[in-house]
Symmetry: C2
Subunit: 151 residues, 2 copies
DNA sequence: ATGGCTGCAAACACTTTGCATCGGC
DNA sequence: GCCGATGCAAAGTGTTTGCAGCCAT
């Protein structure tokens, strides 16, 4: 599963004249397994495997992948970016209280909802903002955004 | 038109026990007229009217409005936030090259595309990423992201 | 008049960049 | 061996916060 995605991506890197390093392989593995992480979370996971890896390398790699359209960046309500391997159109359900993100595939084509006229659409993203089941009770009383328990 | 929106919002502020100051009125006017501006663009416009207004006030006001669910924040592909008065569900078409944002209303209900199960959806946002008509030619040759001409 | 709001500046968080070294090709 | 990629640290952005004075209520 993962190796299939990874090889697709490494092919794309090579094709763009980029090198496949141990660090890039590691980072690709991490973001393939865990969508929606932010840069420092990715870095934290990476240091478990390679304690020497620098945060700058994480950013440089993410930027490279974004330039090649291999990952998407979105903020999902937070101030900083969250990264995930680019796939097809998809849907994020984001809980306003605990920040959990549920991912889904659209049942139909989101583009059908829009008269895009002459705008050339490459990708559609649908975000549904609200409350996850677990937070629906509590959110009615205490209005305490984000961070359900320790990060 | 604008005064209608503004009074709706100032009522909401008062109701939340907040004060209506000249600065807040000014900022509300600006973001009502210009959706999708980022904080420093808002500040720049504000200083044309009130040169003393501080950037911190802009951020504090935007955060206040966001807490009261009166504005939405989204990044629209950039690293920092863009703000707009919260309205109904809507669609953003974002040009990867020049950054222009075209806004539209969905032709149907975006929620119908998703099996949200027990997730309580408050708002839906649909983003279509691609190229605007003007950039469709150029983008095929020179790949120079964002900033069509001076900001 | 009182407590929230503001401007200013310092602090903070996130991201990028310069440079010497390392390692994929 | 060459040139791109890395680690480190310093610099750059964007955003938040502490504090004294100001002004809506």
């Amino acid at each position: 599963m993962i190796s299939r995605t990874s090889s697709r991506i490494t092919d794309r890197l090579r094709e763009a004249g980029k090198r496949i390093t141990a660090e890039r392989r590691l980072l690709l593995d991490i973001i393939t397994r865990n969508p929606h992480l932010d840069a420092s979370a990715i870095h934290r996971l990476a240091t478990d495997v390679n304690p020497k890896i620098g945060l700058a390398t994480v950013y440089r790699t993410l930027n490279l992948l974004a330039e090649l359209d291999l990952v998407d960046v979105s903020t999902l309500g937070e101030a900083h970016g969250h990264y995930e391997i680019r796939g097809d159109d998809h849907v994020h359900m984001i809980c306003l209280r605990c920040g959990v993100i549920r991912e889904a595939s659209p049942l139909g084509d989101p583009r059908s909802l829009v008269d895009a006229e002459d705008f050339q659409v490459l990708q559609a993203r649908l975000e549904l903002i609200g409350y996850c089941p677990a937070c629906q009770q509590d959110s009615k009383s205490s209005r305490q955004p984000h961070q359900p328990e320790g990060k």
